[in-house]
């Protein structure tokens, strides 16, 4: 029996980047807001403590700050013909948990997608013909890059992104990405100083005719006060970003950018360690009444609200929709239905260069400090003579030298014993790796659904991920790997070792926590779960904000676009929805 709580104006499910940004924006409208977060409260001084944060075993290997499979697992299979089994330990991707969500443990690479990415289907069809897309299910976003520009800018200012613009209002700027779409102004902070590895990469990339530039980073190059008045510090290149909270207030996160202001607002309340089970709908299924959640004592509450914002991790947003019966579940056999449709990932590969005579100090690093070549990302190059669409960024961002995970050895080296040890001691300082972050385009057979067999602690079905890399994306990845190899060979090392991407997606080794889609935005209710404002077509007082809204993923880290979408949705709610609550914003 649920305890029924007094009604709120807004209930927010999940309290990471999107939940905190939306809460802060809507609190300024005077709304009475509660955010409900599954994990614990976390703050920098207590939980990302400088005295013991640099513990690779605890945080990177045992994954203290992450969601654990014991808490909520997912099942996976590569095709619908297989039986999905639970990922009993998260491996390929690592969802966050607790206040700040995945915004605590990210690396900080903060991109804008290209204008052509937002109108992908129209753009590619117009340039190469519909036949080129026949094995894919790509879509337009229903919003243009030009419309998103102001929202991107706000997120970059909030987070103090360090970088160099490549295109301001159509003027190509020296030192930035010459392929980027026009932006209204430069990043709030200049780029970071470059460690040796990325500097060497940039020289090699230029020598083969490409255009390297500093990767836009949420690792701050200088101290900064953001537009909310929150102060942050300069990055100290400690090499403990990804999988760690920043002890130095120099990696952007909800904690370092939003919470010091939001938490003090009297019309905002946060409930932690409280697990939302379901969005409750009216009898006709067209209105959300509020949410049911369970606290750590196992007691169930019903929180009524006028507006429900689904702001959990992308995969959990989709599961919440499926468990709540919002939108028709997608069926890959017919291609019909919307919830679970267009699940995408990231198509990554890598290359490692071994040297005899170099000292890289790989531990002098940060999650986003490096150099990128974008000559082959998205549609920045002519695909007329190749047999795929999409592309990727070639990124030399050595994120750390933490030695449980970072121990390169040349090919043919044993995994243990004297020979292994000798090779490890030599290669640690003298090896440079970089990667290709490739796009992931939707295909009919890749989707999210509820598992028929496996359940969570409460008996509710786990999310089932059905995914393999489409052939198009494998061809793209091989082409990009060849470009990365050209750069690697220009460095004149002793060995170049490629790690190419081939089928099938393996859920065990870490690849990327860039899971996208499943509750996508668009302009056709038959092909998208959300309209262009991230509002559910079926239940208009529900907005679903996150990478779950991406119709497909670009060759870039998603957080910049996720942050921009939070501002885009917040503006739509503030400026349009609140005038006519309960109505769809698109007819």
């Amino acid at each position: 029996m649920s305890t029924i709580l007094p009604k709120k104006d807004v209930v927010i499910i999940g309290f990471g980047w999107t939940g905190s940004i939306l809460a802060n924006e809507l609190a300024d409208e005077g709304l009475d807001i509660v955010a409900i977060e599954r994990g614990p409260w976390r703050d920098t001084a207590t939980d990302f403590n400088i005295g013991y944060m640099q513990d690779e075993l605890r945080f990177a290997i045992r994954k203290d700050l992450f969601l654990h499979a014991s808490n909520e697992a997912m099942t996976m299979r590569n095709t619908a013909a297989e039986t999905a089994l639970p990922m009993r330990r998260y491996g390929s991707f690592l969802p966050g948990n607790g206040v700040g969500g995945a915004g605590v443990h990210w690396n900080g690479q903060t991109w804008r997608f290209y204008d052509s990415d937002f109108e992908l289907k129209s753009h590619l069809t117009g340039r190469y013909g519909a036949e080129r897309l026949s094995e894919l299910q790509v879509e337009d976003w229903g919003v243009t890059g030009r419309e998103m520009e102001a929202s991107y800018d706000r997120f970059e200012q909030l987070a103090g992104i360090s970088g160099k613009a490549g295109n301001i209002d159509g003027r190509i700027e020296d030192g930035g990405n010459p392929f980027e779409s026009p932006r209204s102004r430069d990043y709030p902070l200049p780029p970071n100083r470059m460690p040796y590895g990325p500097a060497l990469f940039a020289d090699a990339a230029r020598s083969v005719g490409y255009h390297p530039f500093p990767t836009p980073a949420a690792n701050l190059s200088q101290s900064y006060v953001n537009p909310l008045g929150v102060a942050m510090g300069q990055c100290s290149y400690c090499g403990f970003c990804e999988r760690f909270g920043c002890a130095n207030y120099s990696k952007s996160s909800p904690q370092t950018c939003v919470l010091p202001v939001l938490m003090r607002k009297p019309n905002f309340e946060l409930r932690t360690n409280s697990d939302v089970r379901k969005i409750e709908l009216s009898k006709d299924g067209k209105t959300a009444r509020g949410v049911t959640y369970v606290d750590t004592s196992g007691r169930e509450f019903f929180q009524p609200a006028e507006l429900v914002l689904v702001c959990a991790y992308a995969l959990h947003n989709v599961r919440m929709m499926l468990l709540s019966g919002i939108g028709t579940p997608y069926d890959p056999a017919t291609g019909e239905g919307v919830t679970g449709r267009n699940y995408c990932y990231q198509t990554n590969s890598g290359v490692t260069v071994f040297f005899d005579d170099k000292t890289f100090n790989p531990f002098i690093a940060a999650g986003a400090i490096g150099q990128t070549v974008d000559d082959f990302n998205g549609d920045s190059f002519d695909h007329g003579s190749v047999d795929f669409v999409g592309g990727g960024g070639i990124n030399c961002v050595p994120t750390s030298g933490r030695p449980i995970q970072h121990r390169p050895v040349p090919p043919g080296t044993p995994k243990w014993g004297s020979a292994w040890k000798k090779a490890t001691a030599k290669a640690y300082q003298s090896t440079l790796s970089f990667g290709v972050q490739g796009s992931s385009y939707a295909a009919r057979g890749n989707y999210l659904s509820l598992d028929p067999t496996y359940t969570d602690r409460y008996g509710a079905p786990l999310l089932r991920v059905t995914f393999d890399f489409p052939d198009n994306d494998i061809r793209m990845s091989h082409y990009l790997s060849d470009r990365a190899r050209e750069i690697a060979e220009a460095m004149n090392g002793t060995h170049v070792v490629e790690s190419r991407r081939d089928k099938s997606w393996n859920s065990v080794p870490y690849q990327s926590t860039h899971n996208t889609g499943g509750a996508i935005m668009g302009s056709d209710p038959k092909r998208s779960a959300l309209n262009r404002y991230l509002q559910s077509w079926d239940v208009p007082n529900v907005f679903v904000v996150g990478a779950s809204a991406f119709p497909q993923n670009a060759g870039k880290n998603p957080t910049g676009t996720v942050g921009a979408l939070a501002y885009w949705a917040a503006d739509a709610i503030r400026e349009q929805y609140l005038r006519n609550p309960g109505r769809g914003l698109v007819g």
């Binding site: 305890t3 709580l5 007094p6 509660v34 409260w41 703050d43 207590t46 400088i50 013991y52 640099q54 513990d55 690779e56 075993l57 605890r58 045992r62 654990h68 499979a69 014991s70 299979r77 039986t83 089994l85 009993r88 330990r89 470059m194 460690p195 040796y196 500097a199 100290s236 290149y237 400690c238 919470l259 938490m263 003090r264 309340e269 946060l270 409930r271 932690t272 360690n273 606290d295 750590t296 509450f301 000292t359 890289f360 100090n361 002098i364 933490r402 030695p403 121990r407 243990w416 014993g417 004297s418 040890k421 000798k422 001691a425 067999t453 359940t455 099938s504 997606w505 859920s507 065990v508």
Partner: protein, 242 residues
């Protein structure tokens, strides 16, 4: 709706669960920072065994000394504390698979679906070591620790490849991979967890450990970092540049 109303409705629950970050909380109007509320690690100290029995200790010490042999680069795995590390890990949440999804049904999976066995890591070590002990004895008529270093390496190579089969529920190459992975965690992790004694592995490769600020060396391209490692225990090894 306000915080007071919520507190009223949940007063009993909050009283019962007032302390600790694991309890549900309502927070409004403030940043809920509390002094000394963090969770620092408890340093592992050698002495006594929490998980391994005496026979397993003998086997494990012999195994880790072949995975990480003593030479002019560093001490061996045993003297680096790898078995102490493994013992405490297996006696704790990791050994009990506290963070893994352990609900059935358990079925044989595809390679892309990962480990699907019902045993916890501590269960895999217990069963795996017993089966390994027996398999070595059956094959060579001698205990693993009495073999020469070359013979031990040959046995471990066969375990790694699966050529040496183990009776029971533990598959040989998977068991070897687990032991190797955990041994390396102990050797390269912070000494606070019981392995990497005196930061032996960090000195070997030149990793400065838990230092937190390299702003003075970012621009020193291609020059070895001049300072030795530091652990989160506060231990520092100073070394001279050049």
């Amino acid at each position: 709706m306000n915080r007071r109303a919520f507190l009223t409705t949940t007063a009993v629950g909050l009283v019962a669960l007032a302390a600790g970050s694991a309890s549900a909380r309502s927070i409004s109007g403030r940043l809920p920072w509390t002094a000394f509320a963090g969770e620092p690690p408890t340093p592992v100290t050698p002495g006594g065994w929490h998980f391994f029995n005496p026979r397993e200790v003998v086997l494990m010490e012999a195994i880790v000394d072949r995975l990480i042999p003593a030479d002019d680069l560093s001490v061996g795995g045993r003297d680096a504390g790898c078995v102490v590390f493994l013992d405490r890990q297996l006696a704790g949440p990791f050994g009990g698979a506290a963070r893994a999804y352990m609900q059935g049904p358990f079925q044989e999976g595809l390679k892309t679906q990962g480990y699907q066995g019902s045993l916890t890591p501590s269960g895999r070590y217990r069963a795996g070591l017993a089966a390994f002990d027996k398999a070595v004895n059956d094959k060579l008529g001698a205990r693993f620790e009495t073999l020469s270093a070359d013979q031990q390496d040959a046995v471990l190579t066969d375990l790694e490849s699966g050529k040496l089969t183990l009776a029971g529920k533990v598959e040989a190459s998977q068991f070897f991979a687990l032991v190797l992975e955990n041994t390396m965690e102990g050797f390269f992790g912070d000494p606070v967890h019981g392995g990497n004694r005196d930061m032996a592995s960090w000195k070997m490769i030149g990793f400065p450990g838990a230092r937190y600020d390299y702003r003075d060396w970012v621009d020193q391209h291609d020059k070895p970092y001049p300072r030795g490692p530091v652990s989160i225990l506060g231990n520092i090894v100073e070394q001279q540049a050049g």
